[in-house]
């Protein structure tokens, strides 16, 4: 088996390394040699020592030429003594590195004796502001210090030595010590990001040398946004990444598509990796609440994130094998940093609200519509079918959106962090609390507390390194079991209370305010621990083990007291109790090796993975409570019914490797391989191979570009191709098994088949092709990236739809169906103006993407025959082709495709649109003037989608539900030229039937849902320079806003969430950040 062979090699490699490193622990002054030397060449003498000891000599050819070695009498000497004697009087010196002895020319020979002296100086930025915390290091040595609050440093160094100044966000600068004079250094802010670290799978690279397609988002951009979920901070910032909120409730999920939808019916989530550890993206919720299912990613604190890297192409993702098909999002959290301890406090407060409401009919318009409907139907309104006309207040006009979603919700977040330490050991410890309310009536909201502790340590010789972090997040989401947004169309004169002041009930219809009597509380505790140990075995060869544990506990309680039920339907108060736990560990040993080979650099990586995840949970329904006060207390239930129990175990193992060869910083070739085994697949199909090849040509390093095209400071052509897999299909899907029924029967616990089993399925494979061009102009002030990609996903694991007559709705099977995602992506960043006190920079991205179903064998005879069309996107929506309103009758008309005289499902359905965006992107501008900074981001999406009256929740004009203003344009009498069907409220009437059966599913309600949104604005003012004497590094006052303004032709709630979901909220905050 190949896996074993590779592991064998790793084992052998490790074992050898263990021997080698044992010997190298000995030093030249410990190892003794008994030998006499006759006069000769130094080569001969060194060869003799190599024979007698484990030491090996290394020197540049030619430096030994012409040097004779003296004769030495036979006696026992240490190697050090021997070498001192052999090299006495020459201009050569030696140095031991492990078991190598390196011979070099001593250039300082004849110089004065090396004299350590105290060097002092200050470090400032280009504006002349002192920079505290800058690392100052003697090059090649171990001495390092930090600048203090005034930017001053003191360091012991000798003349001729070189000092290295480095500081995050600034270009590292070297300065030679000439004499005792003060060394004053100005650090330049980093302009281009070509040399910034880009995190890739199991390693890092730079944008300059990367062969793959990766976009990085820094902490600064995340910090500008007062959002709950880290995913929200990525919207509009990354080419190829399409993120939309499911609802505007805190803790709600996001729909994330990186380069489109690859899988027809399996998961399309990217793989999330936090500090090297996979993070689950499936919700642990047992019961859905107003926010849908709780997003697990909301238990990651955005403030703890240092950088997010989005890996897109095969070159970047193939190292994640069977899990990388939908792209990989690498989240790197904040780590310790050497320097004087720095305390940062940051607090902001604000409000959020719904700023997009739908204009509805007022009561008199609504009542007129109702009366007209009864008149059209020839039905006489009665107290039963028209209480709104006959029983309720004819003048009461309630704006339900105002009542139910109209509140301004306060929001507060406070963070405190301490960061510092030495070069050897440094740390960060931080805590964040967040408290946000909702726009619903009542005291509902979301709270989160997060602690991040991270420690870095390295040994004095820099060979051993350890990084360890512990993150703990606890959140509490206090919401409702049901989203109230759907009640926006309640009749405007619907009375909330009856004459006695109790909730008013119309038969068993729900009173939305009574829903507020219900509760839905979910709590998540997330413990995330990871450690990476690495050791340098010999220069260039590192062994590393990274390991992590993720433990998530989810608890949920929902209560349904008597008051919240229509008395007619009430049959006792109940409560739902659910819990779910995730326990996961992962261990990944790795070896990496770098070697200079010819004019190039070869680096190699090999490693393995063992991952184990267990999810276990249950849900229980309690009933028979003595008092509704006791609903939270499961003990108070006289009857407890187990509702569900879930248990899944997921195991995953693999070996992976990567080889990169960089020849002369011009040609880079990168190959990755992974062999994965996963418990999710049938016993005979558990292993799969994945791999990719990537290449880059840095043509700007060719002399013809350097000489002739000096305006082009960077140019790189990239290409990659490879296969990556998708395993997001749930667990045990191959198993032929039975599960317990909800209730026992006749004293026996029942069983039901879990699924229609299919033991034969294997991986879903995504073949990704990419070509890219990176260009830098004018000293890299303008950087442009253009990518073309074409991903083809085959062997689709389709939840193959079955006709329910077979006994099942679906089963999972591989089909040779192929889905293609093709697109262009452009990213641009430029520093438009760069003066001493004013800078203006812009970054922009644009993605143009298309999903297409290329192949689907025997589609027309399959159960998906009416769902998909070959050559069309997967997200097509079928409906009736709307032709207009019959002028005489007010009945909407539709195209009868097959000409059989009636409009039927599915024969007369056509593709009316699709839900994938045609193009999308963002435009961010950053301006800074003196101490003042302004950032603003526009997000834009060109797409279509369901209009307000699309779908099964839209009812005929004239039903006892309010309508948006479009109903005013309805057909009213014969001869009317109208585009909206006439009023009708009675089932069976022509208008009613055409509305219910066709109109609400027709092209009439499929609309343009494009938008341009002012996604984020951040205004900051830094008072630090004014408050120099306060010894504060940073005092920043800021204002931030999220989702401030949306320009859209869309008439419903929000073009992002569409339908009847709570739109993403507008957030306004003000904050203060202080660090010292």
């Amino acid at each position: 088996m190949k896996v074993n062979a590779i592991i064998c090699i790793i084992v052998l490699f490790s074992v050898n390394s263990i021997n080698a490193s044992t010997v190298s622990a000995q030093s030249v002054n410990e190892v003794r040699i008994s030998a006499g030397f006759s006069p000769g060449t130094l080569e001969q003498a060194f060869a003799r020592i190599e024979r007698e000891t484990e030491f090996r000599f290394a020197y540049r050819k030619g430096i030994l030429a012409g040097i004779r070695s003296p004769s030495l009498s036979p006696q026992t000497r240490t190697v050090q003594q021997t070498l001192d004697a052999l090299l006495a009087g020459t201009d050569l010196q030696y140095k031991q590195v492990d078991n190598s002895i390196i011979i070099t020319k001593n250039t300082a020979i004849n110089a004065e004796p090396v004299l350590q002296q105290t060097i002092t100086g200050t470090v400032k930025d280009e504006k002349g502001i002192p920079l505290p915390g800058v690392s100052v290091k003697v090059k090649g040595g171990s001495v390092a210090v930090m600048t203090d609050g005034t930017g001053t440093f003191r360091i012991q160094a000798s003349r001729t030595e070189v000092l290295v100044f480095s500081y995050i966000g600034y270009v590292s600068t070297e300065r030679k010590v000439v004499d005792a004079a003060a060394v004053d250094v100005v650090l330049k802010a980093e302009v281009g990001t070509l040399d910034a670290v880009v995190v890739i799978g199991y390693g890092t690279t730079t944008r300059r040398n990367n062969t793959g397609s990766v976009t990085s988002i820094s902490a600064k951009d995340i910090a500008n946004q007062p959002v709950t979920d880290p995913l929200a901070a990525l919207q509009g910032r990354v080419a190829g990444l399409d993120i939309s909120a499911v609802t505007g409730y805190p803790g709600s999920g996001y729909s994330v598509h990186l380069r489109g939808q690859n899988s027809i019916s399996s998961g399309n989530d990217p793989l999330y990796i936090v500090d090297g550890i996979p993070f689950i993206s499936e919700s642990l919720s047992q019961f859905s609440g107003a926010n849908g299912s709780q997003s697990p990613l909301s238990s990651l604190n955005p403030s703890d994130i240092e950088q997010i890297d989005i890996l897109k192409d095969a070159d970047a993702t193939a190292i994640y094998g069977s899990r990388g098909a939908n792209g990989v999002i690498l989240i790197t959290t904040k780590k310790g940093r050497a320097g004087k301890p720095e305390v940062t406090a940051n607090i902001y407060r604000g409000i959020s609200s719904v700023n997009k409401k739908v204009d509805m009919l007022n009561t008199s318009q609504y009542l007129a519509l109702r009366r007209e409907a009864f008149k059209n139907d020839g039905v006489i309104p009665t107290e039963t079918n028209a209480p709104d006309l006959l029983l309720w207040d004819q003048n009461l006009d309630q704006n339900w959106q105002e009542k139910l979603l109209g509140k301004s919700a306060p929001l507060t977040q406070a963070e405190l962090s301490l960061r510092g330490g030495s070069e050897q050991t440094n740390f960060i410890i931080s805590g964040t609390v967040r408290d946000e309310k909702t726009v619903l009536p009542g005291d509902l909201g979301y709270k989160r507390g997060a602690v991040n502790f991270s420690l870095n340590h390295k040994s004095l010789d820099n060979k051993f390194k350890v990084t360890s972090s512990v993150k703990y997040t606890a959140d509490e989401n206090n919401t409702l079991p049901t989203d109230l947004t759907g009640f926006f169309n309640l009749a405007p004169n619907y009375p909330i209370y009856d004459a006695a002041g109790n909730y008013y009930w119309l038969n068993n219809e729900q009173n939305p305010l009574a829903y507020l009597e219900r509760t839905s509380l979910s709590k998540t505790n997330n413990l995330f621990i990871n450690t990476a140990l690495s050791y340098q075995i010999i220069p260039g060869l590192n062994a590393k083990v990274s390991a992590g544990i993720n433990k998530m506990d989810f608890k949920q309680t929902q209560t349904f007291p008597k008051l919240s039920f229509a008395p007619a339907t009430y049959s006792g108060s109940t409560a739902n109790y659910g819990n779910n736990t995730l326990n996961s560990y992962i261990v990944e040993p790795q070896l990496d090796y770098t070697l200079k080979l010819g004019k190039g650099n070869l680096s190699a990586l090999a490693g393995g993975t063992w991952q184990n995840s267990i999810t276990e949970g249950q849900s229980i329904v309690g009933s028979g409570y003595a008092s509704d006060e006791q609903l939270q207390n499961i003990q108070a239930a006289t009857q407890i019914t187990a509702r569900s129990y879930n248990y899944t175990k997921y195991r995953y193992t693999s070996v992976f490797g990567r080889l990169t060869y960089n020849w002369d910083e011009k040609y880079i070739l990168n190959g990755t391989f992974r062999r994965d085994g996963s418990s999710r697949f049938g016993p005979n199909k558990q292993f799969g191979n994945f791999g990719a090849v990537g290449a880059a040509w840095l043509f700007s390093n060719e002399s013809f570009v350097k000489d002739k095209l000096s305006f082009l400071t960077f140019g790189k052509l990239r290409a990659s191709y490879g296969t990556v897999g998708n395993d997001q299909i749930g667990n045990y899907q191959y198993l032929d098994s039975w599960s317990a029924t909800s209730f026992p029967y006749a004293g026996v616990a029942g069983l039901a088949p879990s699924r229609f089993p299919n033991p034969d399925y294997s991986w879903e494979v995504n073949k990704k092709l990419e070509a890219g061009l990176d260009l830098g102009f004018l000293g890299d002030r303008l950087l442009v990236t253009a990518n073309f990609y074409r991903n083809r996903s085959g062997n689709q694991l389709i939840g193959y739809t079955l006709s329910s007559q077979s006994g099942f709705d679906q089963y999972t099977a591989n089909l040779p169906a192929v889905v293609q995602n093709k697109g262009f992506e452009f990213e641009l960043s430029s520093v438009n103006i760069r003066r001493n006190d004013f800078t203006w920079s812009t970054s922009a991205n644009l993605s143009i993407a298309k999903t297409k179903l290329l192949e689907y064998p025997d589609l027309e005879n399959s159960s998906n025959a009416t769902t998909y069309v070959i050559g069309q996107p997967l997200q097509i929506v079928k409906g009736y082709d709307y032709l207009g309103i019959d002028k005489q009758t007010g009945v909407p008309l539709f195209r009868d495709i097959n000409g059989d005289g009636v409009v039927t499902d599915p024969a007369d359905m056509v593709v009316i649109g699709n839900t994938t965006p045609k193009f999308y992107g963002g435009l961010n501008n950053s301006l800074s003037y003196k101490n003042f900074t302004l950032d603003f981001l526009f997000q834009f999406v060109k797409q279509e989608g369901p209009g307000l009256n699309y779908g099964y929740l839209s009812y005929s004009n004239g039903i006892m539900k309010n309508k948006d203003l479009s109903a005013l344009d309805r057909w009213q009498q014969p001869g009317d030229e109208a585009d909206i069907p006439g009023a009708s409220t009675t089932a069976g009437k022509a208008i009613y039937n055409a509305y219910q059966n066709q109109y609400r599913l027709s092209s009439a309600n499929w609309v343009d849902a494009s938008f341009i949104r002012l996604k984020n604005v951040s205004i900051k003012y830094n008072f630090a320079s004014m408050l120099k004497n306060w010894k504060l590094n940073n005092v920043t006052l800021y204002l931030q806003g999220q989702n401030l303004l949306t320009i859209t032709p869309y008439k419903g709630f929000d073009p992002e969430t569409k339908a009847y979901a709570l739109p993403p909220l507008s957030i306004y905050t003000a904050g203060l950040q202080v660090s010292f």
Binding site: M1, V3, S14, V15, I18, T384, N385, N508, L533, Y535, A543, G572, P589, G608, W610, E616, S623, G624, Q639, T641, Y647, T648, K649, G677, S679, N731, D736, S737, W738, S739, T741, S742, F743, A746, G747, V748, G750, A752, P753, P757, L802, S803, S804, Q805, S806, G807, F808, D809, E860, S863, V902, T904, D905, T985, T986, A987, G988, N993, Q996, N997
Partner: protein, 482 residues
């Protein structure tokens, strides 16, 4: 540092030996693999009773409220006193294929048919089941398969006949002609009758079908498919079976006893579904849904053509099985509602007193009465109907010796005896020819065209659900639906 290497070394070595094993996870704790189901009596029985459990686990399912209520509203039994799109479509006989209740009436019985087939196959192949248990399970499964096909064919007309677990073939099967579906139903029931015994499995509760249940359903299937001789024979067998009686004993005049007909395991019970989801003391879903707290939602159809006027004066069924509520309005209005089940919510934590009635003994007399009428044995018809009538406190019949007159009496007795139970009235209207003699017209055309505006003959079959149209390329829609 050496420790690090040892850890690495051990980790790698472990992987070396158990890489393949590592990804072979044990079976999940919440599931039982198929191969272990039909090995012993207990798990095999669990597979069978699991079907009954799911039939009645939640409200608005095929085997409780939906079939009963939607058919009753489609016919002329009772209606819902409000407007709710999904209900209105039934009330107005304008059901759309997208109506979710139609979807449930289709997909749920097919789900149970698959499970019954799995039991038939699994138990038949098993060499380790006790023979008595094996016969009982196969008998029950064949009974249940017949039961589901029976309702499908009556609700939808021609329907795919599913007789095995070959899911991939079954998913695209076209509709089978009604008479062939009936043929299969009868075969299954004959076999079930052979395999089942008179005693109910598991003791006193009548919650799993026995031989008499198979016999009664068989009698009904014969009757519906026009085999009157066999229908009479089977009904006679049921009537003669020990342990069943109409609840009027010992005193004919103590008609209040009939209020106990729907109690669990009553003497009238041939087969009941146990109520399983009894949170807060709930008993049957039917009772829970229909028994009002004040003004009833489900009201017997009104007016002279309505069911509220359908009872003869002095009919004890009206006083015992129909509830009433009088409004405080002026003038007051009285609404009537089905009141066979008495319990809306029982005592939390206490055992339920009522179960959902599926097959009731009284039907046997009505089947035989009709079968005899069809064979021109009008005296026999009168005898059977009089038994039913006498329990209701009504005088014996005087029937003119004609098929039309006898059938009119059969219709009347069936209407007032079997109302609000499993769609009897709706199926009767569908299967009986029009008394006008117009070819192609049914009794529904006679009756419902008078009481319902916009009645169309094609409404007698519900539409094939959109989902089935979409997922089975060989499916054909019923006439009259678009």
């Amino acid at each position: 540092m050496k420790i690090l290497y040892y850890i690495l070394f051990i980790a790698v070595l472990t992987g070396f030996t158990s890489c393949k094993k590592y990804v072979q996870v044990e079976n999940p704790k919440d599931q039982l693999v198929n191969s272990s189901i039909f090995v012993n009596d207990a798990t095999a029985t669990a597979a069978m009773v699991g079907i009954y459990s799911d039939m009645n686990a939640f409200n608005y399912q095929f085997a409780n409220v939906i079939t009963t209520f939607m058919c009753a509203m489609s016919a002329d039994e009772f209606t819902y006193a409000s407007t709710l799109a999904n209900f209105d479509e039934f009330k107005n006989n304008a059901v759309t294929p997208g109506n979710s209740y139609v979807g449930i009436m289709w997909s749920q019985p097919y789900g149970f048919i698959y499970r019954a087939n799995a039991v038939i196959q699994g138990a038949t192949a098993s060499a380790t089941l006790t023979p008595a248990v094996k016969n009982q399970l196969i008998g029950e499964a064949r009974f249940l398969r017949a039961f589901c096909h029976f309702y499908l064919v009556n609700i939808f007309g021609d329907v795919p006949l599913i007789l095995n677990t070959d899911v991939l073939t079954n998913t695209n099967l076209p509709r089978t002609a009604s008479k062939d579906v009936y043929g299969a139903v009868i075969t299954d029931l004959l076999e079930a009758k052979k395999l089942l015994v008179a005693a109910y499995p598991g003791g006193a509760e009548r919650t799993r079908p026995n031989k008499t249940a198979a016999s009664l359903l068989l009698a009904r299937a014969y009757l519906y498919s026009g085999n009157n001789v066999s229908a009479e024979q089977e009904a006679t067998e049921v009537i003669g079976a020990a342990g069943y009686s109409l609840l009027n004993n010992p005193d004919v005049n103590n008609a209040a006893n009939m209020t106990k007909a729907f109690l669990k395991n009553s003497a009238e019970t041939v087969w009941q579904l146990q109520v399983v989801n009894t949170a807060n003391g709930r008993n049957t879903w039917e009772g829970n849904t229909i028994v009002p707290t004040a003004s009833p939602f489900y009201r017997l159809t009104r007016g002279t053509l309505g069911l509220e006027s359908g009872f003869e004066a002095g009919d004890k069924r009206f006083t015992n099985w129909v509830g009433s509520y009088t409004t405080t309005a002026t003038p007051p209005v009285t609404y009537y509602y089905p009141f066979k089940y008495k319990v809306r919510v029982g005592v939390a934590g206490a055992a339920p007193t009522e179960y959902s009635m599926v097959l009731r003994f009284a039907e046997a007399y009505l089947i035989r009465a009709e079968a005899r009428a069809q064979q021109n044995n009008f005296a026999g018809t009168k005898a059977d109907l009089d038994i039913i009538r006498s329990r209701a406190g009504l005088a014996p019949l005087v029937i003119a010796p004609s098929l039309a007159a006898a059938m009119a009496q059969v219709e009347q007795e069936r209407r007032v005896e079997l109302f609000a139970e499993w769609g009897h009235r709706w199926f009767d209207l569908k299967r009986w020819k029009s008394t006008s003699g117009t070819a192609g017209k049914t009794r529904a055309d006679d009756v419902l065209s008078q009481s319902k505006a916009g009645w169309k003959s094609t409404a007698i079959l519900f539409p094939i659900p959109s989902e089935a149209m979409r997922t089975n390329p060989n499916m054909v829609q019923n006439p009259g639906y678009n």
